[in-house]
């Protein structure tokens, strides 16, 4: 094998007069570009601040809150106390004398578990399927995957999930989350695929391909990086859908009432005709506010992330990118 056959592309683009950056400098730069710059933008974006604040509040509720608040059981307190009257039950009590706030708090950890499992399954499967399908466009793999996605899109999600949960009666929040995620990946996979298709046409991907880089490294270096923001935005939106659907299942009373859930509270209150009995109203309203606030945070987060991952905005906030590069980027 002669030397002329092997052409080192790295050398080709290397400036002879520039010192290669040391490892710590490279690390610092990566950290600055990928973590600190988005954080700096996030702090300037009111949506990110509000969303982050709300979610931190819920996270505290699910960790410290559970530890502070006592596990509610019937007969703890007087029945149907009005909210904002007593420190022991700030949001009042329900028909069985349980503190409404304590019940809301104790439902939080399982909600996070469901969101986590659902988002991981939905976004993970969507990313893998979308990437594969987009890169193998026109092959049988692409056709098969997209047909599968189209089929699942067609089956109405909630009825399917209801039938599945009715048969298997899952009690583990992770399993519930996974069930919910199964219905959510196909739409996302289709959008990931079309993103991949348009990224594929970009000149730098074309260049990598002409240079003969193997497909896996093109996927990893050129495409995955571009898709990351898109995937994160959708993870936030998927989280909102998991909240909506899991609460709906509990509200309908289809999932077993073995755990606390905001939907369980709503179900019990609604069954007792809380709408016409004003003393029962807090039992229905406070879980509703809890749900809306959390999904509002996720919607805001997704909107803010759209802006945060904007490359131009990032360059302006990264300290390690000098002005010349910024203009070029």
């Amino acid at each position: 094998m002669s030397d002329t056959d092997e052409l080192d592309f790295e050398e080709l683009f290397d400036d002879a007069d520039r010192e290669p950056p040391s490892r710590s400098a490279r690390l610092k730069r990566t950290l600055d570009v990928t973590v600190l710059a988005p954080l700096r933008i996030a702090l300037h974006d009111w949506r990110a601040v509000v969303a982050g604040g709300i979610l931190v509040l819920y996270a505290l509720m699910g960790t410290v809150g559970v530890w502070l608040a006592k596990k509610p059981s019937s007969g703890d307190h007087p029945k149907l106390e009005a909210p904002f009257q007593h420190v022991a039950y700030p949001l009042g009590t329900d028909l069985y004398g349980r503190s409404i706030l304590d019940q809301i708090i104790h439902a939080t950890p399982d909600m996070f578990r469901m969101i986590f499992a659902g988002a991981i399954v939905a976004v993970g499967v969507a990313a893998v399927v979308g990437l594969l399908s987009g890169f193998m466009r026109g092959t049988w793999v692409d056709a098969l995957l997209m047909m599968l996605a189209d089929m699942i899109i067609t089956i109405p999600g909630l009825p399917l999930i209801i039938v599945i949960t009715a048969i298997f009666q899952p009690t583990n929040p992770f399993v519930v989350g996974v069930f919910l995620g199964i219905d959510m990946w196909p739409g996302l996979a289709r959008t990931v695929r079309s993103q991949v298709l348009s990224i594929r046409e970009e000149s730098y991907v074309e260049a990598s391909r002409i240079m003969g880089l193997p497909t896996p490294s093109i996927l990893r270096r050129d495409v995955a990086g571009q898709l990351m923001p898109f995937i994160l935005v959708n993870a936030a939106l998927t989280s909102r859908r998991v909240i909506f659907e899991s609460v709906a299942l509990y509200f309908l009373g289809i999932l077993p009432f073995t755990t606390y859930n905001w939907g369980v509270l709503m179900n019990l209150a609604y069954q007792e005709n809380a709408l016409t009995r004003s003393e029962l109203l807090p039992w229905l309203v406070f879980p509703m506010i809890t749900i809306i606030l959390m999904s509002f945070a996720f919607v805001l987060l997704s909107q803010a992330m759209d802006a945060i991952f904007n490359v131009r905005l990032q360059a302006r906030h990264a300290e390690t990118i000098d002005e010349d590069e910024e203009v070029a980027g």
Partner: protein, 339 residues
């Protein structure tokens, strides 16, 4: 339209239908302890044979009567019989609780669900498209920011919570609309003005709560329209002195709606899905409520039947949408691009 495209879509629809039928069959088999064990208690209760022991053969026969699945036979024979009775005889099984053929029960309810579903879809999409376009035309105005915030807020409220709020405010506080049933208790069904009016008034709140689901499209529409508005061909069209309305509809409108297609397609399934919750809240006796009641009673044949019909309706709706989409965007039907 390209015949190959029509053929491909039709084939895909038929295939998906078979896949769903197979899925219901698999779900029967996946029940803990098999279909016979899962339905044993209910079947015995309904046949009035609670304490007595029934022979396994008789039980299997009953399971076959209700679900078209005979656990006695090998799997492929079961599957063949299941397909045969469904497709050739049009038999979807028998409801365990009500003792009537599943298909009859569903056909009585399906038109009501279609009624509120179709109105929710069309009105939800129409509102979100116009709102999105209006926001794009008035970009960065007060109207734009107020409606954007409004849509974001609306997107954070689950449709069923929205439905509960509607029931409380418009139904109970102000008594503007009835909050349960499909028509008034004292109204006789028939082609009378009174009956029609009652049906419409009862449908308003369910339709509005389901329509909320479709408004998420407004923000996407806004983004698309803003992008299209900046395109050169729109400027050229304006400079050519074309009527404002023509530019808005044919140049901006059409090109910004196209990318929304996938979202709309998923929306059809989404709105139909939501009928399960909405019909339960409004005590609206449609297919969603049928499915819900079947779950509570563990009436599996009815459950599978409703799932199958729900899917079939969505399939047909998406099929029709697909074919008409070929008319709006000719690129799709010639197979040049399918993104």
């Amino acid at each position: 339209m390209h015949p190959r495209y029509v053929l491909k879509r039709t084939g895909q629809m038929v295939f998906t239908f078979f896949a769903t039928v197979t899925l219901t069959f698999v779900l029967y088999q996946a029940m803990p302890g098999g279909p016979a064990e899962a339905m044993r208690a209910m079947i015995l209760a309904e046949s009035g044979d609670v304490g007595g022991s029934v022979s396994l053969d008789l039980l299997n026969e009953m399971v076959e009567h209700y679900a078209n699945v005979n656990p006695d036979q090998p799997l492929h024979v079961q599957y063949y019989n299941y397909l045969h009775s469904l497709l050739v005889e049009g038999d979807m099984g028998t409801s365990i609780y009500q003792g009537e053929p599943v298909l009859d029960l569903i056909l009585q309810r399906a038109p009501w669900t279609m009624f509120i579903g179709v109105y929710a879809l069309t009105m939800g999409y129409a509102v979100s498209l116009f709102l999105g376009a209006a926001m794009a035309y008035k970009e960065r105005s007060l109207f734009d920011s107020v409606s954007s915030t409004g849509v974001i807020l609306l997107n954070s409220v689950p449709y069923y919570i929205f439905a509960i709020v509607l029931v409380y405010v418009l139904g109970i506080k102000y008594s503007l609309f009835p909050i349960n049933g499909r028509y008034g208790t004292f109204v006789d069904p028939g082609f009378t003005l009174e009956y029609m009016g009652s049906v419409v008034r009862h449908a308003v709140l369910p339709v509005v709560s389901m329509g909320i689901l479709a408004t998420g499209g407004a923000l996407t529409m806004r983004g698309n329209a803003i992008r299209v508005l900046g395109d050169d061909y729109v400027r050229v069209a304006e400079l050519r002195g074309l009527r404002r309305s023509r530019v808005a509809m044919q140049y901006v409108g059409r090109n910004s709606v196209l990318p929304l297609y996938t979202q709309f397609m998923i929306g059809i399934a989404g709105v139909l899905s939501s009928t399960v919750v909405v019909e339960e809240i409004f005590a609206y006796n449609g297919m969603g409520k049928l499915l819900y009641d079947a779950v509570l009673l563990h009436d599996y044949p009815l459950l599978m039947g409703t799932l199958l019909v729900f899917t079939t309706i969505t399939l047909i709706a998406i099929y029709l949408a697909d074919l008409t989409y070929g008319y709006i965007d000719p690129r799709i039907s010639t197979g040049e691009s399918n993104e």
